[in-house]
Each structure stands twice: as structure tokens, then as C-alpha cells.
């Protein structure tokens, strides 16, 4: 069995393993690039390296020493701190180590038996996930280093605490699966509570459980024992809404695909699988049809509402309690005939090897009126059942049609299967008494409403017709037609639609109003009071002219627009020169502050143009 599971896990995990390796590769390559660049900044401009790059010919023509000195001028600034370099090197070393390790021994899923002690299973699964968390922590750090956003003070603590509970869904789904497996025969008494304990921790482990036996005999007291004991495991999603559940037979042709998907979901998963039975190949199909082992897929990721997450569609005739199947038999004259009958759990059980003794032929003294087909018997109330004998159809060795009476235990189990199936259908939104009632109510209401409106409109039309109002008749006819087609006539307002379309504005080219310009003038910067130099900073083109002339007088603000820093920062001469050079002509020199400045008259004159 363990080999078989290893194979299932291996098959389903293969693709994800490639994605995991890619993820590690991507992160390792990213930090490797940083290190290569850093190495270039540290070593790339050394004389020998430059000489090598120039080659024999180049080294003769150019002076590698001079070139190395020139090229390495900015290197110091480009290098990263020793601390960061060490950190990145460490991330790379660890990632590379894991990568090499995985190349030699590919990461594999872990498989443990459900017979192991619960706490031990949980501990091992968390250890497994935490070893993966260490890897994903490194990957995250690598990506942060690429963006140069790793800050020791902020992030060291975060990453030292990083464990599997902080991993995101993609990361969890890339972890090799942790499988807990078991089978029906071996199950010990405490199994179910263990099952619940494993799931309630939220650890994304996967429970793979195999069934071969589908029916239980009645216990000594004759009380009913349901398939999974006293718990309905099929309804587990109602208790644990966040788990993934799949119940299917191993002959299901999509099994591999479904397992691959299910085993990688980032949440706990439960898989009930009906083992292959070599003796009777049609058995799993019958188990499915008879609702003995219905197909159930519950994927909480499928949607935000519960109903859409539960999928029963692979079961035959989902809309019926029991599916209709054909029973072929021979008549007394040897003619082949077919009987369509409901295929119940009892029909399935009657063909199971060990349960033959649970069925007896319908006694011949029972009148036709007293004998009732089991599927119908089960839908009756207890009062209606009294005095009736339930039976199923079957064929004997000669292929003749016979009627068999199931034992009380089989009847009880069939009733239980029916109830479970109905419950499943209700929670899957397929069938439900409230829905049925609502549907009925709506249908009657709609028919009534429709009839009423149609009659009203008819009467109106006739009246108008009599009055000879042609246009009105046309309107009434249109209304009637729309109603009969099921459209909401009132919503179509043709007239207003047409007039709206005609009145739509066509854009035109037009000069804007002078008012805009007036407003604009108000927005323009005002000359400050006083006679000092000033700049219309808003219009500055950041051309560097003024600040190159005098950095003390002119400077940039935080938007890199020139402003006057200090009017006394230099001679009036510089201010005038700047005004002349200013590419936007927005520097207004004002009056000189130092009357003793040389050639002042000349500068004042030149400044006039810009005041």
C-alpha cells in the first residue's frame, strides 16, 4: 500500500516540484546578479582587469593604468556596505546549498501512517513545513535585496520569526505534500477522534483514506451501523469549511488529475478513495450509482459561497434520489426483456459477496397489494408502511426475474444512504424544500400576473379600436407584443432615445473667452513689495543659468524652481547678468542694495529691461 501511495504522491507532486525549483532558481539568480555587479564595482576597474579587457593590442595603444584610474573614480560610491555584502552572500550561499541539495535528491512528499500518535504526526508535519518556511524566508529576503529594501533593524526580527503560518497560499502549495494515510480494515477504535484532531489544527496536511468494504453487518442488537461508524465524514465540510474533500473511486479516470490538484491546495485535505476491486470491475460504478459511495468534491477555493464549492455533478442522475438503471432478464419463454428500476443501496448490496444471506425471496403468499418496491416504501410515512413488505428486483442464476426481501439491517442502511444523499443535495443547492416551495409560489404568481396584464391590454386595445384611434392601437399592440415576449415594455422609451441622440453636441473649435486670460493674470505671481530682486519662480525652467552665475543669491526650492536666497549674496552685477541670461526671462533685478558698487549706473541701465 505504501508504495502505491508513494507513486500517487510522486505523480501529483512532479509538476509543482519544477515550479518550486524555478522559484529557488529565480531568487538565487537575482542575488547572484547583485553579487556579480558588486564584484565588478570592486574588481572590474583594477589595472589587470582593464588590461585584460583591452587585450594585447589595446594595452599597447592605451595606457591601462590611466584608464583604470579614470574608470575607478566613482567606484567607491557605487559599492555596497560590507555588512550588506555579507548578508547577500549568506542568502546566496544558503539558497545555492538548498538548490544543489535538491538537484541531488529532489524534494519529496512525506508519508506517515494514521496509526502513529496524533501529536507526533502534527509535530512532524509542522517540522516539515517550517523547513520549507526557512527556504521561502530566504526567497523573500532575496527579492527584497534586489530592490535594496532590506533593512536590518526592521527586517531581521521578522525573518527570524518567519514560520509556516506566515507563508502565503502559493508558497504553501509549493511545499512537498505531507500525507497521512490509512485504510478501513486496520482502523482502530480511536480513529475518528484522531481524524478530527488532525484537521482541527489547520495544518495543511493531507489525509488519504482507502476503503474496500462498503457495507456493515448489523451489530448483535440489530441496531444500524452507518458506513463510517457513527460520524458522517461526507459532511465534514460542514464542520471544517476550510478543508478540501474528495471522495471518489480509484477507477475514476480523472483521479490522477484531481489528486494532483487536491494534494497541492494550501489547506488541509481529506481524500476518501474506494480501492480497485479486481473481482468485479463494475462494482465501483454501482457503488457510485447506489449512493453507497457518492462522488463528492468540496473545494473552498472554488467560490465564496458554500453551495458553489460543493460539487456532486459526477454522480449519475443528481436530480433524483436513486438513478434509474436497466435490469436485463429472460421471460419464462426465454425472451430477453428489460426492466427500468431505481437502483438503491439494497440493489447494490444484493450483489455484494458477503451479504447474500441478507436477502430472502418474497414469499408467494404475499399479495401484490402488500408488496411494495423498496425505493417507494422508503418515501412513505411509518403509518403507510405498516403491513407492507418492501422488496427489490433481481435475477437468479437462470436470469429469471425474482423479487427479494432485504433484511431490516439492509433496509435501515438504505434509508440512511438515502438520507445522507438528500442532505448532500440540499447543502449543494441541488434540491431543497425551501427552494421547491419558493419555485412553486413564484410560478403561480407569475402566471397570474401575466394573465392579468395581458387581459388588461387586450381590453384596452379593443376599446381603442372601437374608438378608431390608430396610433393608440399601435402603442397598445406594441405593449402587448413586448409583454408576450416577456420584455419589460416600460423600459423602452424610443421617443426620448431618438431626441437625445439628435441633440448630442458636436465639438467645435472656438477661441477661449477673454475671461480665462483675466483669471490667468490673477494667478501670475505678484511682485513682492520693496525694491529687491524677485523671480516668478512658477515659470522657472530649471535651466541652471542664474545659479551658475551666483549660488549665494540664487538657489532652488524643493521643486527645483529658482528662488532668491539672499539678495545681498553678491553684487548687483550678478543679478542683472542672471536676468539677461535667464531662459524664461523671469528674473526682475529691482534696485541695487550697495550704492558703492562699481559701474553701478551701467548695471542699473541694463536692468531696466527686466523690471
Amino acid at each position: 500500500m505504501e508504495n502505491e501511495i508513494t507513486k500517487i504522491v510522486e505523480d501529483s507532486w512532479q509538476k509543482k516540484r519544477l515550479s518550486l525549483m524555478e522559484e529557488i532558481d529565480r531568487a538565487a539568480r537575482a542575488v547572484e546578479n547583485i553579487l556579480t555587479l558588486e564584484n565588478y564595482h570592486r574588481e572590474g576597474h583594477k589595472v589587470e582587469t582593464v588590461g585584460q579587457s583591452l587585450g594585447e593590442f589595446g594595452s599597447h595603444a592605451l595606457d591601462p593604468n590611466a584608464l583604470a584610474t579614470l574608470l575607478s573614480q566613482g567606484d567607491e560610491k557605487r559599492r555596497m556596505s560590507a555588512e550588506r555584502l555579507e548578508r547577500i552572500q549568506k542568502i546566496y550561499r544558503e539558497l545555492d546549498q538548498i538548490r544543489q541539495g535538491y538537484r541531488q535528491t529532489p524534494p519529496q512528499g512525506k508519508i506517515v501512517s494514521i496509526e502513529e500518535e496524533t501529536q507526533k504526526i502534527l509535530r512532524r508535519s509542522e517540522e516539515h513545513l517550517n523547513s520549507m518556511a526557512r527556504l521561502f524566508g530566504l526567497i523573500r529576503m532575496a527579492h527584497m535585496e534586489v530592490k535594496a529594501k532590506y533593512h536590518t533593524e526592521e527586517h531581521d526580527a521578522y525573518f527570524s520569526r518567519f514560520n509556516w503560518r506566515q507563508m502565503d497560499d502559493t508558497e504553501v502549495s509549493l511545499c512537498p505534500p505531507f500525507i497521512v494515510w490509512g485504510e478501513t480494515q486496520k482502523t482502530s477504535e480511536s480513529f475518528y477522534s484522531k481524524f478530527l484532531a488532525l484537521l482541527s489544527e489547520g495544518v495543511p496536511l493531507k489525509i488519504l483514506f482507502f476503503f474496500s468494504e462498503l457495507s456493515k453487518r448489523a451489530s448483535a442488537e440489530g441496531r444500524l451501523i452507518p458506513l463510517h461508524g457513527s460520524v458522517n465524514l461526507e459532511l465534514l465540510p460542514l464542520t471544517f469549511r476550510k478543508i478540501y474533500l474528495l471522495q471518489t473511486a480509484s477507477v475514476n479516470s480523472n483521479l490522477k488529475e484531481q489528486l494532483a490538484k487536491g494534494l497541492s491546495v494550501p489547506r488541509p485535505g481529506v481524500f476518501f478513495i474506494l480501492k480497485k476491486d479486481e473481482t468485479l470491475l463494475s462494482r465501483s460504478e454501482e457503488a457510485l450509482a447506489s449512493r453507497a459511495f457518492p462522488y463528492i468534491a468540496y473545494n473552498p477555493e472554488a467560490s465564496t459561497d458554500f453551495v458553489s464549492c460543493l460539487d456532486l455533478s459526477a454522480n449519475p442522475d443528481v436530480h433524483r434520489l436513486w438513478p434509474k438503471t436497466a435490469l436485463n432478464y429472460l421471460t419464462g419463454e426465454g425472451k430477453a426483456e428489460t426492466l427500468e428500476r431505481d437502483f438503491t443501496y439494497a440493489d447494490f448490496a444484493s450483489r455484494e459477496k458477503g451479504l447474500k444471506d441478507q436477502f430472502t425471496p418474497l414469499p408467494s403468499n404475499i399479495s401484490e397489494e402488500k408488496a411494495v418496491v423498496l425505493s417507494e416504501y422508503l418515501t412513505r410515512t411509518p403509518a403507510e408502511r405498516t403491513g407492507k413488505v418492501p422488496f427489490i428486483y433481481a435475477v437468479d442464476e437462470k436470469k429469471h426475474l425474482i423479487q427479494l426481501v432485504p433484511s431490516p439491517s439492509i433496509i435501515a442502511q438504505t434509508a440512511d444512504r438515502m438520507h445522507l444523499w438528500q442532505s448532500l443535495r440540499e447543502v449543494a443547492g441541488i434540491d431543497n424544500p425551501h427552494l421547491r416551495a419558493l419555485e412553486h409560489k413564484l410560478k403561480t404568481q407569475l402566471t397570474e400576473d401575466k394573465e392579468k396584464t395581458v387581459n388588461q391590454l387586450k381590453a384596452e386595445m379593443e376599446a381603442r379600436l372601437k374608438a378608431g384611434e390608430k396610433q393608440a392601437v399601435y402603442e397598445a399592440m406594441k405593449n402587448l407584443a413586448v409583454r408576450l415576449m416577456g420584455l419589460e415594455g416600460a423600459k423602452i422609451d424610443i421617443k426620448s432615445f431618438v431626441s437625445h441622440a439628435l441633440s448630442a453636441k458636436v465639438p467645435t473649435m472656438a477661441r477661449s473667452q477673454a475671461s480665462g486670460l483675466k483669471e490667468a493674470a490673477a494667478e501670475v505671481q505678484k511682485k513682492p513689495s520693496g525694491d529687491q530682486v524677485w523671480i516668478e519662480s512658477k515659470l522657472c525652467t530649471t535651466c541652471d543659468e542664474c545659479i551658475t552665475i551666483n549660488k549665494k543669491i540664487f538657489g532652488y526650492n524643493k521643486d527645483k524652481k529658482a528662488v532668491v536666497l539672499d539678495p545681498k549674496g553678491g553684487p548687483f552685477r550678478d543679478i542683472v547678468k542672471a536676468a539677461e541670461k535667464c531662459s524664461a526671462k523671469i528674473i526682475h533685478p529691482g534696485r541695487p542694495l550697495d550704492p558703492k558698487e562699481k559701474d553701478l549706473d551701467k548695471w542699473v541701465k541694463r536692468a531696466e529691461k527686466f523690471q
Binding site: 523573500r140 534586489v146 465639438p507 483669471e519 490667468a520 512658477k538 522657472c540 535651466c543 541652471d544 531662459s583
Partner: protein, 323 residues
């Protein structure tokens, strides 16, 4: 405790920081004082700062020229390419790294002259990039040779008797290219308008082409009427277009323009005096080349393709003769 996904975690830890202009400043620009390039650089840096864009999320690609030194001064990823090929390099970057915001910077010589061929096809490919041409109507770096936008009669080293031809109108040319999706014009002496234009272009998905008129103080200081308010310009105003700050209105008047109408746009582009400033043409629905190609990659049968290629190449295998 809420679990942050790796993406969310990185976004939280690495994204949305407050930046200063200095965070986008690399070397001190070697441009002459008075050069319009300074203003464009500052405008781009302000855009990045105001939008809190991580420097590492941007790549600036250029050709050769004074203006093409842009990537050296903008502290983002950068690629100083070769003369006339900024757009070819950009296309590769756009395809390989759609996650980065691509800014392509060229001069008028770089784009309209030696790069003319690539210019046309880049527009038709409509890859995702903000493309700016710093048009000073001259070759600056090589010290005053005529470029396609040099005006008739202007004396340069290559046209000592004055440029013979009428200058090229790049706007009308571009509006004749299939798939053009965004065309705007602005000038460095209209700083607020320059900022708004770059912002609009930045948001466009596809190739947003912005021609920025600017003065070269060293070799053609007389151009654009010395960039004063005297240069005849007119602002284009239209719904969803480029806003004209009130302060700018003293520089030029405003006309209404429907930038979704290609014929209207062509008409506007044809008018050189006054020079139209603003969004000339805009069609956000043209698919980008990247999207078209990536859509195909999804359906591409790679193993089949490689097998076919191998089979084709095998035909040319030289086999060793034995015996």
C-alpha cells in the same frame, strides 16, 4: 493574524516610499547652463517623486546626443544606446520587461534624422513606452550641424550658407503612421504645461510620443524667439486633454480641440505658427505590440516549433563520409 502574500509583503516592505528629488538624481548634469534638458530632467524627477515611483521600477533608454545623456542623470535603470537606435533598444526592453516603466529619450537628430526609419515603425508597433524628443532644432553634441527640424536659412556648420530646405514637420508625419496612439507637444519654457504633458503621457498604455521644444543656448540660442513669451504658441484644450495651468495662460492663448479626431489633429499639426501645445491626438484603444505578442505566446506550441526548427536545420547537417 493576517497572512500577507509574498507579493503583498514585498509591496508593503519595498513599495510606496516617500522620495525626494535627490533620490532620482545621479551624476551632476554636464549640460550647459541654460540648456532646456535641465528642465525636462527636473520635470521627470518631479513626476517620479509625486507618484512615489520606485527608482528600480523605471528604465530610461536613450540614443546619442546631449539629450541622450539623460539616463546618466536620472537615477533609475538606464541604457545609453547608440545614435538613432533608442527606439529599437526600447522595443526590446518593452517586450522583455513589461513590468518596468519605459522612458525613451532622444534628440531631434537622434530620432528624426538617423533614427527616422525606427521612428516610423516604433509608432506603428505602439509598444508601451513614454517617448520624449528634446527638440532643439540642431545637433548639439557634435557642435552645430543642421538637423531635420533646423529652420530654413539657419546657418550651421553643415549649412554655412543657411539651411536650404524647409524644416521637417514631425507632427504631420507621425499623424500619417498607422496605429499612432498618443501625440503631444510642449516646450521647456512652459514648465507647468511640460509637467502636465509628461503626466498625461506617463499614464497612456501604448507609445506616448511627446515632442518637447527647447533651446540650445550654446549653438542656437536664437531659436524659438529666445524662448520668451514671444514665441507664437497656442494651447489645445479638450476634455481629457492636458490641463493648462492658469499661470501659463500669459504665454499663449487657448483653442478647443478634439484630440480623438484624427483629421482635426492633422489640421492642428499642420499649423506651425502658432505652434500647437497640448494633446494633439489620442486613441487609448490601439493594442500594444507587447499585448499582441504575449497573447500569441500563450497559444504557441513551443515544443512543436522547436522540433520544426530542428528538422529544418537538420537539412543542412554536414555528414562525415566514411570509407
Amino acid at each position: 493574524m493576517t497572512v500577507l502574500s509574498m507579493e503583498e509583503f514585498l509591496e508593503k516592505e519595498c513599495g510606496d516610499h516617500n522620495y525626494e528629488l535627490e533620490d532620482y538624481e545621479a551624476e551632476v548634469p554636464r549640460w550647459c547652463k541654460g540648456c532646456g534638458d535641465h528642465g525636462v530632467l527636473t520635470s521627470v524627477q518631479k513626476l517620479l517623486r509625486d507618484r512615489k515611483i520606485n527608482p528600480e521600477d523605471v528604465i530610461c533608454v536613450s540614443g546619442i546626443g546631449c539629450s541622450s545623456r539623460f539616463p546618466h542623470y536620472l537615477k533609475t535603470y538606464g541604457f545609453h544606446g547608440i545614435h538613432g537606435r533608442a527606439l529599437t533598444l526600447s522595443e526590446g526592453v518593452a517586450l522583455a520587461r513589461p513590468d518596468l516603466h519605459l522612458l525613451t529619450v532622444m534628440g531631434d537628430g537622434d530620432c528624426f534624422s538617423i533614427g527616422g526609419n525606427h521612428w516610423i515603425h516604433a509608432l506603428r508597433y505602439n509598444f508601451n513606452a513614454t517617448v520624449i524628443v528634446l527638440d532643439n532644432e540642431i545637433y548639439g553634441l557634435t557642435k552645430k550641424q543642421a538637423s531635420p527640424t533646423t529652420r530654413q536659412g539657419v546657418v550651421t556648420n553643415t549649412t554655412p550658407k543657411g539651411a536650404y530646405l524647409k524644416s521637417l514637420n514631425p507632427l504631420t508625419l507621425m499623424l500619417g503612421v498607422t496605429n499612432i496612439s498618443f501625440l503631444a507637444q510642449t516646450a521647456t519654457w512652459l514648465p507647468g504645461h511640460l509637467d502636465n504633458t509628461l503626466n498625461k503621457a506617463w499614464d497612456h498604455k501604448g507609445l506616448s510620443f511627446v515632442r518637447i521644444l527647447q533651446r540650445c543656448p550654446a549653438y542656437l540660442s536664437s531659436s524659438f524667439e529666445a524662448t520668451g513669451p514671444d514665441f507664437p504658441a497656442v494651447f489645445l484644450e479638450g476634455e481629457g486633454g492636458i490641463a493648462v495651468d492658469k499661470g501659463m495662460l500669459q504665454k499663449a492663448s487657448v483653442i478647443q480641440h478634439d484630440h480623438h479626431n484624427l483629421l482635426e489633429a492633422q489640421k492642428v499639426a499642420l499649423t506651425e505658427t502658432p505652434s500647437p501645445m497640448g494633446l494633439i491626438y489620442y486613441d487609448p484603444n490601439v493594442p500594444t505590440y507587447g499585448d499582441i505578442r504575449r497573447r500569441r505566446i500563450k497559444t504557441l506550441d513551443r515544443p512543436g516549433l522547436i522540433a520544426g526548427l530542428n528538422a529544418e536545420l537538420d537539412k543542412y547537417t554536414v555528414k562525415q563520409q566514411h570509407g
